[in-house]
Each structure stands twice: as structure tokens, then as C-alpha cells.
Symmetry: C2
Subunit: 778 residues, 2 copies
């Protein structure tokens, strides 16, 4: 755990330069706009430790998998998020001496991620080996307003000398992925070129054939006044640069403005990339840096209007929650249904793939409440479009008749992970994809989605489950063998309660949705069942029979759902009795010991109870929480939020807050010593859920929002904005009572603390005491 | 399946050259002498498809493991059997044109592995592109009499021309492993040199630092008469050669004799390798090729005296069983307790490692009956010497107090496999190691071994099991969670009956052995328990408690031991109902489907019943056999022998013979399309077991051999030699009755068909009817 980020409500601040923290800061200070993003690499040369990273959404490379022993059916490829051309680089020479912070004395280093306005700023004074002292201020951003563009303003002032300053902005496509399996480079050069004030490199990915043109347009100012300096162009393989040399007097400042753009063949014909790149660069350069910066601030203001959470009385918490919301918005804007939310977003390479079940299980609730419903709809359409590949994936594993198994990790719908315990067995993800459809329709009431897209996916998923179970003659029930549940510390288990629960729920929801569509949209229904050859009578009977006769492990004596068959055969130790020296067990214990232990990596039975809490009475929820929580090590960043929400529901405000704390500053404080690889983007949605669904107690019930809020003891107040079916409101939870303010849209009915409220447009409602008497704490 | 090997009782014969079969033949015609070995690569250049392989026993390289996702505790390295310097090569030029069978018309190609005398012979006539015709005869062997040496006689006769023949014998250390994980070469050159009639290359393995000096000494004859030709020496990196050029008249023959030797730093100081290599070469060359060949035949005659099996009335079966025995003897001679039996012996690289549980479970019975007891004792000592590493291995996994887990795959005692399902979970191998000690003592009555070595291993293994089980509060019994049994088509299962049975047996045997040593060798016992800190009262009580309260899955209704918890939840399909198009399932099904199915890769419950058959009445054995056999796909070559032996015991002679057939010609007929990778050496011991323990019904009971033989219908008779406690006998089973002939050693008591017999030295006993009335067939 680190503690070097300065507390601030709206900014992430680093003061002083410590090379050992640089890779962590490169992750934390990352920029993105949903279309492209980058780690906070320095503009000038840096010979110290760094992980260079520039990413273009949706552009990936299928790297041949590396395995110990091949298992039949393994995916051939592991899709990598691609490190793409570096467009931030500006090489700096001071009378021929290179500026490199790894070789300078650095003073007054200040790095700031301005989350309110969406830009990164850096100031420092550097003294070179030869004693030359310069002051630098760099500001840059990935534009939300022009999402194929970014801009940098780089200002340098010689403090103790006058001399020749050489600035060489460049585009460098000669990059590689640190996580390449075979140390190969993934890009080939297509073309490159320079012109008087700019240049570009166009590259093509091997195998996948994506082309990306990355270009720049440059202008130079002295003391803020444009100057005309002839640039020397240089080109090398996959590389172009322009070199500006000029005499600068002591105390004068020279500023280089670098406009950059990334255009991808996903959006243009490959041979039209360069002309479009040039017009994009001309367009943004015509706006100018300051205008772009102002537009960026305005775009972010609009985001914050929809999704800000204000916490008073705890600056660190305020900073953390905004950081999480900021990163989620940098990663995914919902404007392109071909994109998704990678676990590291644009902050690192790790884990490959762009799409995990994290999207459906954790991110969907965030985007539903904080963005236009089109955003979530695009996430659903992403899966809809990949249905064919999910059916192929299931066929490869021996399934038939249109059964679909969505991949555990993917870029384009193809499974791209290569561990059998996950690839083949962690099939519960199929349930999350169905649940996201349910969640979307529940939240938005967009039932047309079911008829147009949802039902087709639901039936394909239900068919998978119907084939995946088998009839146990011994039990005279259906069983689900050989799965891995959300708790990845168990592999190849039988009758995982969560998976079996998801399976039967999926089949029931498919049946319900089919009935709904059959009634509401008979023509669409008939067209669909013809298209997918849905044998109504037979398949409905089959699903119903399985739902009726499914086996779910349960312990009568404890009154808890059993995570899987045989769970109680394990030695029952509690996490509190684990010596600190043995934690995290995933670093201290052998895999075999982890598998045999009763310890749970992340919510499993409790994940199911969270999804379907209305099915269970409060005592059942409490018994299961009391049994599983003490056995859960939370070694996934996706775990604590579910426990926080359930603890809040059970009235245990103290523990709800403790669980929240585990993830809210996960990256800012580098809790797990892994932030240097990138930030935990998807778990940030879980942090948001802890606040909104946990402390705010927000649910959708009977087509309305309901709240059951409490205020964490350490806070003076908190408030969050949430949109629901066209209305935007702000809930404020304070010591002296709560209020709900209407911000935009029509009137809204909701309930708070069990009390129904009608909120008129433009009004505020104050509620002095709203909390339902809490169940006794445990 | 192929069918190109000509049937012969003592020879493996290939007639005609088919390049598509060459890699298979390179495996089948492999040579070895326990110390070194090689694939049947051609002497002359060959530009066609080939897998070059020369191996030196015990010399290996720990190749950095390749995994999909690292699991804590994975071994860092996967030890590879090393392809070592090629000493067979003789480059041939005919008036400057290279002889290369891939570029010639080849006639009269004949390849013969003479198993009786232990050499490889090859004849052919080749016509080159330019029309030159030569006849070649090559004979070579790895000497059993001088196990660091080999020799080649290579005779060439120009048939349609007179001209310059250039012969270039060489030693080439610039080799690599086809299975290298990162395409690296594993050897560095130490030194090299040539002298008038020879030369050497000394190489050192990377990381492990083994040094091997490989050298040659050459002489040339014309028409059988020594001639003196000055050789041109050439050296390149890791390579030396001598070039002999001379005019040869049409019809004359030129013969090159190449004596070669491999000396390893395992046996000499590294700086003494070359002098010793030279004296070895001089010594064998002084004997001459013909003498060496005669000594080779004599050495093999002695082997066959001890272990031949004669089958009359079925040449293919005769050839096959001898091939299996021949390869086992080529692989391991038992003279060096640092060596073991690799799954491919000296016939290929595949699988890496030299030691699997195959050695203890399958090979020990073969060597016990067919070789001096010292051979098996050395196999046991190999494990004894690695006890320290087995204890370290267990410590890495979290075990304490001297608990030992022997590796699943190893070279030097370190685990060198990297699949968690096998590395961490296939712990039953620990039981096989204890069982081999039991089997050795039962066979030889060498109880001193227990006091000197065995007990220390047994207690360490028992300690492992005692820590590996856990008390299930739910069951009020001990359970064994998260294992993989011999049936590798199930992973991470609970309460595998075989593993749990082995575990409690090991603990009981450790207790029995401790009591035996305590009584018989009190001083040694006290010294041992002090050394290993054996807390007698406590540990004996612990072992006893576990033995008493262990849980074994059993189905009352079926009356069978259950392979594991939940086995009956699986869909119960029989192998006979599997379409042929879906077999072998390991090629046709995804891994996930295999894991979920009821199909069994190799004997699992039945392996346990085989080991401990005296514990079970014939009905119990029959019920289990009848239940598991129809579910077993035998996709391991180690499976059919166990079923053959049990079928024989149950009186089902027909099926016993069918199971035998599945492995007896596995490599000769390339059943599984994988012989090109090397032969299935360890399963060859299983074939031997099928004959001796199956058809011969041989067991050790109450310190005596017992037989219960039957004659497979297709055979006229069969006989095998078996040694027991210093007496060598031959059992012949024929249509008209059986006989036992004393061959050497003292008188012997044994039983046959339930009848006790006293066999006097030098006598033969004939038994007209010996078979116990068979239980009714099923």
C-alpha cells in the first residue's frame, strides 16, 4: 500500500518525483475518451522504468496461446489489447543535451489529473548533468468532444541559460506489447509521411489487419506568440518526427502545441485513413488548444452532471469515488456498440481481452444509473452481435441446436482465454449476460429490446443450460457437473449453487420473455422462433422440467445454500484465524492448498443472493451472509462491493463501510502492489455500487426506484445523481436528514425508506428520518 | 494403425523404403544400452523428414516452463530429455555427389533390428540423381558389454562406376531439442579436437552443467582389408569430422568402422573426460568390431535367459512380446541407481522427465521377475536418494514435519511438470512408491532394505497422507479433497477411492514396517526415529485414527467402490454406445466434456483392486470390474494390462487376451499414430504383466510364487522365464498341459493351479490339468 497521492476533491495530485512510483503514476494518471487512451508516460525521453502504453479501442491482436499441456478445445489465441503508436512523445535537447528526468535533478515536480475538466498537467524544474536548468509545464488530454483527437501543450523555460532548444515531436509506431507471448511485434507499417507542420504513420496489425493512422500537427510559440520555425523532418521504420531548433533566451518560454489523432479502419476505409486524419488534425488545430481544452471541460461537466457523487467530510473518500467514476467514463462512453470495458481500460495491457462478465455484472448498473440508456443498450447489443460466435463456441464444446456459450474473455466474440478451469468451466458468465438483459429492461422498461434482440440471446443461453445439466439417476434430479463458480478458488466442482441458480433463472426468464414477446409482438415472435428453430412445446417443457427438478445443494442444519457439493467436507477455518503472514493466500499458498481450503476468493453464493435478493427473506440472507462472509478473503477486487451491499441491507452500516473502503482507493493507494500494471477499471463500478446500492440502498422495484439510505459515520453527507427513465435526480444523505432534488426530466415516483414519494419537476423533497429500523446487527 | 513391419520371431524387419514411415521406424528401430541410446537415424545425410535423437541417460535440461496462467507453486522448470551429440553420422560423397536417400532411387531397402543379438542392420541399393549406383550395408549397436561405447560398420560398394568415394564420419554437438519451449539450444561447447584417426567434442549443458565428451575412432577397409588413408580433419562450432577420400573400383567395397563413445561428468571429473574417452575408444577399437558384436550378442543372450517369453503358434505375438522386453532392457539395466525409466526411453523426447509413477506401478514387477533383485533395489534407491527433495516438494506445498510428496515427473527429484491437476493433485503416485517397496520386499524377502532405507521413505510418505487428509465435521470421517486419480479424465475430485485406499494402506504399511524394524533392528530403528524426529506415540495414534476413520465412497445398491464422490451423478453411458467417430475422446471431445463424462481413461478403482486383490472376494472384484470396465476407454497405454490381469483372474480368458492385444503391438503397428514421437516404453512392462500375471496368473503369496495359467486360444503354447529368490525357472503353458523347468539356483517351492509343488534343481515338472475351475464368465 502506498500513500503518496495528495488528497483533493477534484484532482489527483503527485508532488515530488520518485522514479519508484512512476509506473504506478503512469497507470493512475492515465487518460482516455472511450475511443483511445494512454498511460501517463512522459512526453520527453525517459530512460528510467516505464510501461509505455497507447491504446485504440477495439484494436487487438490474437497472440498464439502459451500453455503447459494442450487441452482439446483450448482457444488457439489469447487476444491482446494492443500497445499502439506513441503520439505523446516530444524529444527535448538543450544545447544538444537530452532532457531525461532519469538523468536530471528534478525539483518542484507536480503532476495533476484534473478530473473535473479531464486533463493531465505536469510541472517541474530539471537540472541536467551539465547544470542547465529548465522549467517545464505540460498539459494534455484525450478529447471527449473530438474523440479521435488529443492535444498537448508543452512549455519549456530555460532558467539559467540562453541557448538552442530543440524540440522533436514524433509519432512512433515501433512499439511492442510487454505481455507478448513470443516477444513479437504486432504491427506492420503501411505508410508514413510528413508535411511542413506534421506527419503520420499508418500501421496494420498482423493477423487481424486493423489499420490505424496516427498523426500530429504541430505549432510553436515563444512567450505565447506563434513563431514560424522550419522543421527538419525525419522518417525511420514506423516512425516520423519533426525537429524544431531555435535560440531561446533565459527566462523566455517556448511552447510546442502538438495536436494528435488516431483513426482506425474500423471507422474508415483503409485508404481513406490518411486524408481523414489530415482533415481531423486541421479541424482540431483550427480550434486551437485553449478551445479544445474548454470543450473538454464542458464535455466532462456534462458527464459529472449525470454521475457525480459528492462526499462531504472526507476528502480522501471524495477523491476516490470521483477517480473511480472518472476512469469508468474515460474507458467507455457507450457511443459505439462494438466496444466494451476492458478490465484495465486504457491504463495497461494486463489480462488481454476487452470483455469479461465484469461488464454485465458490475458495470451495467453503473451505466444504467449514470448515463443515457443507449449506453447500456450498446453493451447489450455488443453481445447480441456476438451471438453467432457464442453459438460456435458452444458447438466447439459439443453443444447443439443453437445453444450459446458466451466467452469468458473476448475481443470479437471468440473465446480468447486459455485456462480450461475458466474457459470451459466458468460458465456462469452466460447467466450474467442474461441478467444484464433483465436488469436493463427492469431499469428502462424498454421491452421492445426483448422482441428485437433480447429474446434471441435468452433462448440461446437457456438452450445451453438445458444441455449443460444432466439427469442424475442416483439423485433423480438434474445436476450441473464440472463448473467453476465466481469463486475461482474452486475449480471443476459439482452443483455450484450460484451457477445452478443462474441456470434455472435464465431458463425461467427466457420462458417469461418468450411469453411476453409472443403476446406483445406476435409477428416478431413467430419470425424469431422460425429463425432459430425454437420447438416451442418441446423446449418449453424441457426448460420447465429442469427448473422444477434441479438440484441445489443446501444444508438443513445450517440453513444455508451450499456453495457446491462437498463444501462442508472442507476444514472450516475462518479468515480471521488466518495469520496475516499467510495473506493474500493467492501469493502465499500453493494452488492446491487454496483449492482444498474453504476460503472464498469473491462473492459466490452471496453474488446469487445479491442478484435475486427478493427471493429470500432477511433471515435467509443473514444466515448465508454470516456463514460465507467470514470465509471470504476478497482477493478479487470485484468481491467487496457485493458484501458491502448485503451488509447495508442487513443494517450493518459499519461493515458496509469497511467493505467499501477495500476498493474505493484500491488503485490510488496501490493496495495490491499491482497498480503499475494498470488500474482495476471494472471493480470501480463495484465501488460506485457500494455507495449507491449499499449506502443509498437504491433498487428498482415495481418499475420505480427505491432508496433506503444511511450515512457512513465518518461522513458529513453524501449525494449522488441518478437518472431513471428520463428523469435526473440528486439524492443527498446528510446527518440531519436526506433530500431528493429534481434536476431534469418529468416528475418521478420513487420510494425512500419504504415511503412513496412523488417528486415534481424542479422541486426538492426533504426527509428527516427515512431509515427503516435496521435488523439487529450481528 | 500401420502394418508394415514383417513378422519374425526374433527380428523387427522393414522391407522397402517409405519416407512417410521413416520417423516411425526411427522410433521402433531405436538402440540403447541403459547408459545411452539413439533413434534409428541414418548414418549418411538425409534431407527428408527425421527426428534426430541421441540420448545420454541422466543428462537433462530444466527448460523454463510455459504456462497459460501461472499458479502459485508451479515448478519453474520442465526437465527435458536432452538430444545430445550425434555420433552416428557418416557423410558420403560419390565423386562429389552426396548420398542422401531422400534424393535417390532406393531399391532393396532392408532394415532389421536383431533383438536376439542386439544390433541394427540396414541394406539398400541407391541410385543417385546422376545415375551412380551403390550398395550399402550398415550395422550398428550400443554395446551392452561396454556401455559407454557403440560401433558402426558402414560398407559401400559402387555397382556401376569406379570413382572417388569420400566418407566423412563426424561428431556433431550442434543439436537441439524439438520440444524446446523457447527454441533454445541446450548445450555449450567446452572443447573439441581431432587426431589422426578420431576426434571428440566435449559439451556442457546450460544450467545443469553436465559435461559429455563424445568421440570417435575410425578405421577404413577395402574389400575387408585395412587400408591407410590420410584423413582431412575439419572442426566447426560443436563439430569435428575426418574426411577419407579414395578411389574405389566398381564392385569393390569400402568399409568404415566407427567406434564411438559417450562419457559423462556424472562418472568422471570433467577434466578427465577426454583422456578417459580416448582410452575407452582405444580399448574398444582394439577389440575390433566383430569381437564387440559377439560380446553384444553374448550380453543379450544372458538377458534373454532371464526374461524371454516364447509364444508358439503366433509369430506376430512372439515378435511383439520380445520387442517389448527388448526395449525395456535397452532402456534400463539397473546398474546405476541414479537412472530411471523414461516413458519414451531412448526413443524420443516426448514427455520430458525420466521418472513417472509408471516405474513403480508397472516396471518394478517386470524387473523383479526378470532381473537380479539389485536392479529393482536400485530403482528403490533412486527414490530413497531423492527423499530430501520429496520433502522439499511437500514443504513448497505447505506440508511440514518431514512429509514427503514425490514428484509426478522428475529427473533429479525436483518436480518438473507444470499442470496443477497433475503436479499438485495426482498425489496417488506417492502410494505407488510405497507399494514398490512393499512389492520388492514381498518378492525378495530383503527385509534389511526396510531398516536401511525403506522405512524412512514409508514414514515420510505416511506423514504426507496424514497431513493431506482432513477431518470432515459434516461426515465425522477423514476425507481426501482435491485430487486427481490415475484416471486423468477427472481432475480435482474429492475422495477418489483409489487415492484414499493407497493413503490408508501406506499408513498401515508404514506402521507394520516400523514395528518389523523396531523388533528386528532396534538400533537402526532408534537411530532412524531420532534422525527423522518420529514421535512414535503421537504419530502412530494419528495414522491409526485416520486408517480407522477414513471415508471411502461406496454404493450400497451397486455394491461397488465409487471412483469418487458424485461419480453416480454423471450420465451413465457405456463405451460400447459411443460412436466410433467420437473416439478416442481425447481427440474428439473438448476437455470439459471429457471431465464431465463418466468415461475412464485408465484403470482407477480397478488399479486399486489389482494392487490389493487379496482384500476382496471374487464377487466384489467381479462387481467392480463389471461396473468399471464398460466405462473405461483405455486411452492410456497403461490401462489394458490391469484389465487383462483382472479379466484373467475372473476367468474371462477371451477378454484377457483382447486387453493384451491392445498394447502388445502398440508401437510396432503404430496404433495411436504417435510412434514417430518415440515408443511407449513403460507400457511395455504392462504387456509383460498381461502375459505373466494375466495368462500365467503369477502372484507372490506367503513368500512363494504361485501360478494359475491358461493358454490363449490362438496360441499353441507359451513359456516365460522368471527368477525368484535366486532360482530361475521356466513355465511353459501348452494345449496338452503345462510344465515348470528348473533352470538355475536352488530348489524352489511354488504353487500352480492351487497345488503346491516342490521343484528340485535340474528337474522339470509336468502338470496335465492345472487351471482352477474358472468362475462363470460374464
Amino acid at each position: 500500500m502506498k500513500n503518496y497521492i495528495k488528497a483533493d476533491e477534484w484532482k489527483i495530485i503527485e508532488e515530488g518525483f520518485d522514479p519508484h512510483l512512476h509506473k504506478i503514476s503512469e497507470s493512475i494518471f492515465s487518460l482516455g475518451n472511450g475511443r483511445m487512451g494512454q498511460r501517463a508516460n512522459f512526453e520527453e525521453a525517459y530512460s528510467g522504468e516505464t510501461l509505455q502504453g497507447n491504446y485504440v479501442a477495439g484494436v487487438y491482436y490474437p497472440d498464439k496461446t502459451r500453455v503447459g499441456w494442450w487441452k482439446n478445445g483450448y482457444p488457439q489465441y489469447f487476444a491482446k489489447v494492443l500497445n499502439a503508436a506513441n503520439w505523446v512523445g516530444i524529444d527535448v535537447l538543450l544545447d544538444g543535451e537530452q532532457l531525461d528526468l532519469a538523468k536530471c535533478k528534478v525539483d518542484g515536480f507536480y503532476r495533476e489529473l484534473n478530473m473535473r475538466e479531464g486533463h493531465l498537467k505536469r510541472n517541474f524544474t530539471a537540472t541536467t548533468a551539465s547544470g542547465k536548468q529548465v522549467q517545464v509545464e505540460a498539459i494534455r488530454f484525450c478529447s471527449m468532444a473530438d474523440d479521435e483527437a488529443g492535444a498537448i501543450s508543452y512549455t519549456l523555460t530555460p532558467l539559467n541559460f540562453s541557448g538552442e532548444i530543440t524540440l522533436t515531436p514524433y509519432i512512433d509506431g515501433d512499439v511492442k506489447n510487454q505481455d507478448a507471448n513470443y516477444d513479437e511485434k504486432f504491427w506492420d507499417e503501411v505508410s508514413k509521411g510528413t508535411w511542413a507542420d506534421g506527419g503520420y504513420v499508418q500501421m496494420r496489425t498482423k493477423k487481424t489487419g486493423f489499420e490505424v493512422a496516427t498523426g500530429m500537427k504541430v505549432s510553436v510559440q515563444i512567450n505565447g506568440q506563434p513563431v514560424s520555425i522550419n522543421a527538419d523532418a525525419e522518417t525511420k521504420e514506423k516512425f516520423i518526427s519533426l525537429t524544431y531548433s531555435t535560440q531561446v533566451q533565459q527566462g523566455q518560454s517556448i511552447t510546442l502545441i502538438k495536436y494528435a489523432a488516431n483513426l482506425s479502419s474500423q471507422n474508415y476505409a483503409a485508404d481513406q485513413l490518411v486524408p481523414n486524419l489530415q482533415s481531423t488534425l486541421n479541424r482540431v488545430a483550427a480550434k486551437g488548444f485553449d478551445t479544445m481544452l474548454a470543450e473538454q471541460a464542458a464535455a466532462w461537466a456534462q458527464k459529472w452532471e449525470h454521475n457525480d457523487i459528492v462526499i462531504e467530510g472526507d476528502v480522501a473518500a471524495q477523491q476516490a469515488i470521483r477517480f473511480n467514476i472518472f476512469q469508468l467514463n474515460q474507458t467507455y462512453t457507450g457511443e459505439d456498440d462494438r466496444l466494451n470495458i476492458g478490465p484495465k481500460g486504457f491504463t495497461g495491457e494486463k489480462y488481454g481481452g476487452s470483455t469479461y462478465w465484469d461488464t454485465e455484472a458490475y458495470c451495467v448498473p453503473f451505466y444504467l444509473a449514470t448515463a443515457d440508456q443507449q449506453v447500456t443498450r450498446n453493451l447489450l447489443l455488443y453481445r447480441y452481435k456476438q451471438l453467432g460466435k457464442a453459438i460456435e463456441n458452444a458447438q466447439l464444446l459439443g453443444f447443439k441446436n443453437g445453444a450459446a456459450l458466451y466467452p469468458m474473455v473476448t475481443m470479437d466474440g471468440t473465446e480468447c482465454h486459455n485456462e480450461w478451469e475458466i474457459t470451459f468451466e466458468e460458465i456462469h458468465r452466460n447467466g450474467a449476460i442474461a441478467f444484464a438483459i433483465f436488469n436493463y429492461v427492469r431499469y428502462t422498461a424498454d421491452e421492445a429490446y426483448l422482441a428485437d434482440y433480447g429474446l434471441e440471446v435468452l433462448i440461446a443461453i437457456a438452450r445451453f443450460w438445458a444441455q449443460r445439466v444432466n439427469w442424475s439417476e442416483a439423485r433423480q434430479q438434474y445436476v450441473m457437473l464440472g463448473v467453476t463458480g465466481p469463486n475461482e478458488y474452486e475449480n471443476n466442482i459439482n452443483n455450484n449453487w450460484y451457477t445452478s441458480t443462474m441456470a434455472t433463472w435464465c431458463m425461467q426468464y427466457a420462458l417469461d420473455a418468450a411469453e411476453k414477446v409472443r403476446t406483445a409482438e406476435p409477428a416478431k415472435y413467430q419470425a424469431l422462433i422460425a429463425k432459430i428453430n425454437f420447438e416451442e412445446a418441446k423446449e418449453i417443457a424441457q426448460f420447465s422440467d429442469i427448473i422444477e427438478k434441479m438440484y441445489f445443494p443446501y444444508d438443513e442444519q445450517l440453513g444455508v445454500f451450499l456453495q457446491q457439493d462437498g463444501y462442508l467436507d472442507k476444514e472450516q477455518i475462518l479468515v480471521k484465524d488466518l495469520p496475516a503472514s499467510e495473506r493474500p493466500i493467492n501469493q502465499k499458498w500453493s494452488w492446491d492448498r487454496i483449492l482444498r481450503s474453504c476460503f472464498i476468493k469473491q462473492a459466490d453464493v452471496l453474488q446469487g443472493i445479491y442478484f435475486f435478493e427478493d427471493r429470500y427473506d432477511i433471515d435467509t440472507i443473514r444466515r448465508n451472509f454470516d456463514f460465507y462472509e467470514p470465509r471470504t478473503v476478497h482477493e478479487s477486487s470485484l468481491s467487496p462491493c457485493v458484501h458491502a451491499i448485503l451488509a447495508a441491507k442487513l443494517g450493518d452500516e459499519k461493515r458496509a463501510y469497511e467493505f467499501y473502503l477495500r476498493t474505493s482507493r484500491l488503485d490510488l493507494d496501490d493496495y495490491n502492489n499491482d497498480t503499475e500494471d494498470g488500474c482495476h477499471i471494472t471493480s470501480m463500478a463495484g465501488t460506485w455500487m457500494s455507495v449507491v446500492e449499499g449506502f443509498g440502498g437504491m433498487r428498482v422495484k415495481d418499475g420505480k426506484l427505491s432508496f433506503n439510505p444511511f450515512l457512513p459515520e465518518k461522513w458529513t453527507s453524501f449525494s449522488f445523481n441518478v437518472g431513471f427513465r428520463g428523469t435526473l435526480i440528486k439524492l443527498t444523505v446528510a446527518k440531519d436528514g436526506h433530500s431528493v432534488k429534481h434536476l431534469s426530466g418529468p416528475d418521478m415516483n420513487f420510494s425512500i425508506g419504504g415511503q412513496d414519494v412523488h417528486l415534481k419537476a424542479g422541486s426538492v423533497i426533504k426527509i428527516v428520518k427515512v431509515k427503516i429500523p435496521a435488523p439487529p446487527p450481528f
